[in-house]
Each structure stands twice: as structure tokens, then as C-alpha cells.
Symmetry: C2
Subunit: 130 residues, 2 copies
DNA sequence: GGTTGCGTTGACGTCGGCGGCAAGGTTTAG
DNA sequence: CTAAACCTTGCCGCCGACGTCAACGCAACC
């Protein structure tokens, strides 16, 4: 299969596939005229890449998962390197959740105080009976 | 006060202050020799900017808060435009928290399955008695 | 042989909040 | 007089995952 077909079937662009290639994630062969040629397994690889990107992985993080698939495993998750990345990413997400949670509290408080302040100002402006 | 002093007192750089100026957030006067001159109130403004940046606001989001301070309010939060931004940001953060939470679940499950799979493979490799 | 639709490489643009450097002018201290 | 420490404008670099365009080659159909 050539690059256009793979792009369509993977729901992405040819530019993206070439980009993955420059970063060592996808490895097509070449036909006589220089066109990239992909086998069926690469579709699975591209799906794995896209799926991991979608949950916040960088291309560098994804490399072990692709290697794991290429090693013949049914899932890209099961190899030690992949597991290590999964652990690290889980920790990062937990960390970020904490920080985002405290940002949320701060925003919430700030909003509550601002509204209270506005109502108070409003009362003073219109008088205590307003 | 000139730009270097304000930068030191605000805990940031002169480059940053000029950047804020190009984006309409800080408005110094000029002395005869062309140097920027800031009054004391600008320190408060810069603190407000930094504080909001730190919790994930963009410079565009911050503009109403600065305007609110300049309008003479004790807090940058109390003006209608600021409250609107606070509401929007709170909604965005809630949204992001949801998505990050589901990413976390997905990561957690993926990790759990990967480990289970590895143990199973290990057992098969070493035999049922291993 | 002309058009259309595929493919190739290469290089620049995007977004945001700056960092850092160049090449100069100003002010102050010694 | 000179050095040091300020200040000015202007412009490139950064990160990451691509989009987009240029300029070209290849293949197939009419």
C-alpha cells in the first residue's frame, strides 16, 4: 500500500506519516520508482501512535510501544519499556490533576469573592434598603 | 521607577515587561532620554499579570483584569468582564479535569492489563508450576 | 501528448511567552 | 577619559506536531 491509502485508512495525512517516519516511528519500504510502500502491519502501528498522541504522549514516549508491536506482541503495552512509560505518564497525569485541582479551587474562590464583592458594592450604591 | 527596578521588584525580567507592553498590558511613560518610567501602581499590575499567567491564563484573558485595576478597583476580579473570563476559565478547567480524569482511567487500565498480561506470559513460559 | 492524480524532497508558518543577542545611546563613578 | 551599568529597538530561537506551498517526477487514461 502507498502513502495516500495508508493516510486515508488511518484517518490522517500523508504529511503526518512522513513526519512519523523522520522520527523513526514508521518504516516503509520503497518501490522501484521511489514511492513509499507500507505493509498491513503499519496501519496498526499508525493507529497505536494516534491513540497515544490523543491521550497526551509525545512521539518520543511512543517509540517503545511501536517497538513492542514490531516485536510481535498483540499489544504495544506489554513490553517493559512501554510499562515504564505508562507508569511515568500516569504519575505525570496524577501530578497535573493535583495542580489543576488547586487551580480550580483558586478560580472558584476568586469567582465567589468577586461576585460577593459586586453584590456588596451594589447594596451600598443603592442603599441598605435596596 | 525604571524598567530594571520594576523587573527586580516584580521578580521578572525587563524583556518580559517590554513584552507585556507590546501586548497592551503595561503602559509606562517616557522620560526625556526615552527611558520607560513606571509608577508604583504598575507593580501591582505586573503582579496581577504574573499571578493569572501562573494559573493558566493567556495574556488576552488577563487584559480585563488589568483594566479593572486601572479603573481604581482594589481587586482586578470584580469587574463584569473579569468575572466573565473567570467563569469561562472555570468551565475550561472543569472540562479539562474531566478529560484528564478519563485519560487517567485509561492509563491506569492499560497499565493494569499490561502487567497482568506480562505475569500470565511469565507463568506460561516457566510452566504452570513456576 | 495533454490532463489528472498520485508521489517525491525541502523549506517555511503556526501558537505563546518569553530568552538572548546585536548594536547602539545615557548616566554615573572613579 | 574610561569603564560599568543602565537603557533603547529589533530580530532570531525555542518547543511539537504537524499544515501548506513550491517545484518537480511518475503513472494512467483519453
Amino acid at each position: 500500500m502507498r502513502i495516500g491509502e495508508l493516510a486515508r485508512r488511518a484517518g490522517t495525512s500523508t504529511r503526518t506519516l512522513r513526519y512519523y517516519e523522520t522520527h523513526g516511528l514508521v518504516r516503509p519500504g520503497r518501490s522501484a520508482n521511489g514511492y513509499r510502500v507500507y505493509d498491513e502491519a503499519e496501519l496498526r502501528v499508525v493507529h497505536e501512535i494516534r491513540s497515544l498522541l490523543a491521550i497526551g504522549f509525545g512521539l518520543d514516549d511512543i517509540r517503545p510501544f511501536v517497538a513492542c508491536l514490531r516485536a510481535g506482541h498483540d499489544s504495544g503495552d506489554v513490553c517493559p519499556d512501554s510499562v515504564a512509560v505508562l507508569r511515568r505518564k500516569l504519575a505525570e497525569v496524577d501530578d497535573y490533576l493535583d495542580r489543576l485541582g488547586s487551580v480550580r479551587r483558586r478560580l472558584h474562590d476568586q469567582l465567589a469573592r468577586a461576585i460577593a464583592q459586586r453584590e456588596e458594592t451594589c447594596l451600598r450604591t443603592r442603599g441598605p434598603a435596596g
